[in-house]
């Protein structure tokens, strides 16, 4: 009964912190293959939306339907299991593990070796371990940081850390990749490389949900954009239309585009 082209539907999701309405009945629809932009001024509730979606926060009302099924609230590992992977605005890597180990952790979900496998190192476990390593290497290549594979995550440059986070997220084989300000703190060249990476990810069949303050990047990259302001969705459309919406211009874009 639900539209098979729709990957994610948010239904009137609300979340507040004390008196602060971080999200006020936000509904939106992300279709398969979208690069969906979520923009808005600081404190608009973008990250809170991610946190509710990925189960880190429990929304007070509303719910998400992902890939035709309702998402269980408050269970981050289940959100990952059904195919939602994310990165964090303030990068959260496993700093004292190497880049490749970080990505290998991302494979946890799609592999099954248990304690007995670990202790007895039977053939199945060894094969699986080799496959984990191979996949992690591929993903580091894919995001372009394979030469840093054996460096500790915390020693990578800022841009490389962002890429590593994306590689780790991709390791979970997501249907939806949610990126929280991936270009923050990047210079022009790095941002351009990121744009190409996100396009590549999209071409490879992963739907992307992107929070970003870099308006040029969002407008150039996204197929659809929603704008949040004080926890409310004030607009949702294709980038060209969003840029012209008077409420958006007032709340967020200001004089920069008008």
């Amino acid at each position: 009964m639900s539209d098979p082209n729709v990957l994610l539907e948010a239904h009137a999701v609300a979340k507040h912190f004390g008196g602060v309405k971080a999200l006020h009945d936000v509904s939106l629809t992300i279709r398969r293959g979208d690069i969906y932009g979520l923009i808005g001024p600081n404190g608009a509730g973008k990250t809170t939306f991610f946190n509710c979606l990925t189960g880190l926060y429990r929304n007070e009302s509303g719910h998400f339907v992902f890939d035709g099924a309702r998402l269980a609230a408050d269970a981050p590992h289940k959100a990952a299991a059904v195919g939602i992977a994310r990165t964090f605005q303030n990068i959260r890597l496993f700093g004292n593990m190497t880049a490749i180990e970080n990505v290998m952790v991302g494979r946890h979900l799609r592999t099954r070796a248990n304690v007995f496998g670990a202790i007895f190192r039977n053939r199945a476990t060894r094969n699986e371990e080799a496959a984990i390593l191979r996949r992690a290497e591929e993903l580091l290549h894919y995001v372009g940081i394979h030469e840093r594979a054996h460096d500790y995550a915390k020693h990578l440059s800022y841009g490389d850390q962002r890429r590593l986070e994306i590689a780790r997220a991709l390791a979970t084989e997501p249907k939806l990749l949610a990126l929280d300000e991936p270009a923050a703190g990047m210079n022009g060249t790095e941002t351009e490389a990121l744009r190409l990476l996100v396009e590549g990810i999209s071409r490879d069949g992963v739907t992307v949900l992107l929070i970003e303050h870099d308006v040029k990047l969002v407008m150039g990259l996204c197929t659809r954009v929603a704008v949040l302001d004080y926890g409310e969705k004030i607009c949702e459309d294709v980038p060209a239309m969003v840029q012209r919406d008077p409420r958006v211009i007032e709340a967020y874009l200001g004089g920069s585009v008008a």
């Binding site: 981050p76 590992h77 952790v105 670990a118 371990e129």
Partner: protein
């Protein structure tokens, strides 16, 4: 892992260690069987500390009640192999039962509490350790299960058919005493737990533990069911505690609640922390040092005091606490990652996480 003795001749290291391990009980016996027993306890503590290392070192869960699982294992053995109930099961049946029971208690304790973090978990586990001890102390009425504070005596030694670990025997022309036999059994067990520790470290589960220790939120976002994975660490640690308890009961022939005090939990934890959390050679070093320390005090300080002052000022027991505390403070001050930390732990403590 960092157990290499020269890269060019790895076998030399193995042979060397094997020779030393073989020689220890015979050299120690020159000073009397008491020394062999001390060596046995050192190895038993290595076993215990490496079990706790999975919980504290790998998964980063501060468990202050580890001795509870040791007690469960010891009492399981005592009740199933002594005249107390007149049950005399063979050890190969009881040790797995003890491990399973300890594991069960680990899950019972862990399931509701593993949401707690750091200090809170430490307090709950500490309480649990005390509860188990108090139970052992008072479970002699209305039905006499544990025989209260008197403990349980005449526990069967470990026995393979006619080969009893309690008696002196002869093997290849050597005379081998009971404690020496236990020594070899304990070394075998310790090797097993070392291998398990090593293998867990680079495995899917081991990486998940490390990820949780590094950043629990990110670990969850990667799809790790952190509650189950932590519970797994807890249950595994508990099982090792249970096995160690069983061997302890068999070796001593006697158990009482006194052996399972909070101090014991703290000692085992101190072995892990002092040696180098998460680093196997470090934990082994910690266990050996902290087993040897009180013995050195007992045999060293007492004669020393008599020699210098002509009488005893400080009894070794209170001196032990003093030295123990001082050692911990000094190590934490000057080597916060432990005496022999893994390179990773050194990194963690060297640079603040960003």
């Amino acid at each position: 892992m960092n157990l290499r003795f020269g890269k060019s001749m790895p076998w030399l290291g193995v042979v060397l260690v094997a020779v030393v391990l073989l020689a220890v009980p015979f050299v120690a016996a020159l000073g009397g069987q008491a020394w062999v027993r001390i060596a046995n306890f050192a190895i038993l503590y290595i076993f215990l500390a490496l079990g706790l290392n999975i919980v504290v070192g790998y998964a980063g869960l501060l468990d202050l009640g580890y001795v509870a699982f040791y007690a469960v294992g010891a009492y399981t053995y005592a009740l199933l192999a002594s005249p107390h109930f007149g049950i005399h099961l063979p050890f190969w049946m009881i040790l797995p039962i003890g491990a399973a029971l300890a594991c069960f208690f680990g899950v019972i304790l862990g399931a509701p509490t593993l949401k707690l973090r750091g200090d809170y978990l430490a307090i709950v586990t500490l309480g649990f350790g005390e509860i188990i001890r108090i139970f052992m102390n008072n479970l002699n009425a209305p039905i006499n299960v544990t025989n209260g504070a008197q403990g349980i005596t005449l526990i069967d030694p470990i026995r393979f058919g006619d080969f009893s670990f309690a008696q002196t025997g002869h093997l290849f022309g050597f005379t081998i005493s009971g404690p020496q036999k236990y020594y070899f059994l304990l070394v075998a067990l310790a090797i097993v737990v070392i291998v398990i520790n090593i293998r867990l470290q680079d495995s899917r589960v081991g990486r998940a533990w490390q990820a949780i220790r590094e950043d629990e939120v990110a670990a969850k976002a990667c799809g790790i069911n952190t509650r189950n994975v932590k519970l797994l660490a807890f249950a595994m640690g508990a099982s090792f505690g249970g096995i160690a308890g069983g061997v302890f009961a068999a070796m001593q022939g006697f158990v009482s609640p006194e052996s399972f005090s909070l101090m014991e939990s703290i000692t085992i934890l101190a072995m892990v922390v002092l040696g180098g959390m998460g680093h196997i050679p470090g934990v082994i070093l910690g266990a050996v040092l902290l087993t040897a320390l009180p013995e050195a005090l007992r045999y060293g300080i007492e004669p020393l005091q008599r020699m210098i002052f002509g009488r005893m000022f400080l009894d070794p027991e209170s001196l032990r606490m003093l030295v123990f505390g001082l050692a911990l403070v000094l190590v934490m001050r000057f080597r916060p990652a432990g005496l022999w930390p893994s390179s990773q732990r050194r990194r963690e403590l060297a640079e603040p996480a960003d």
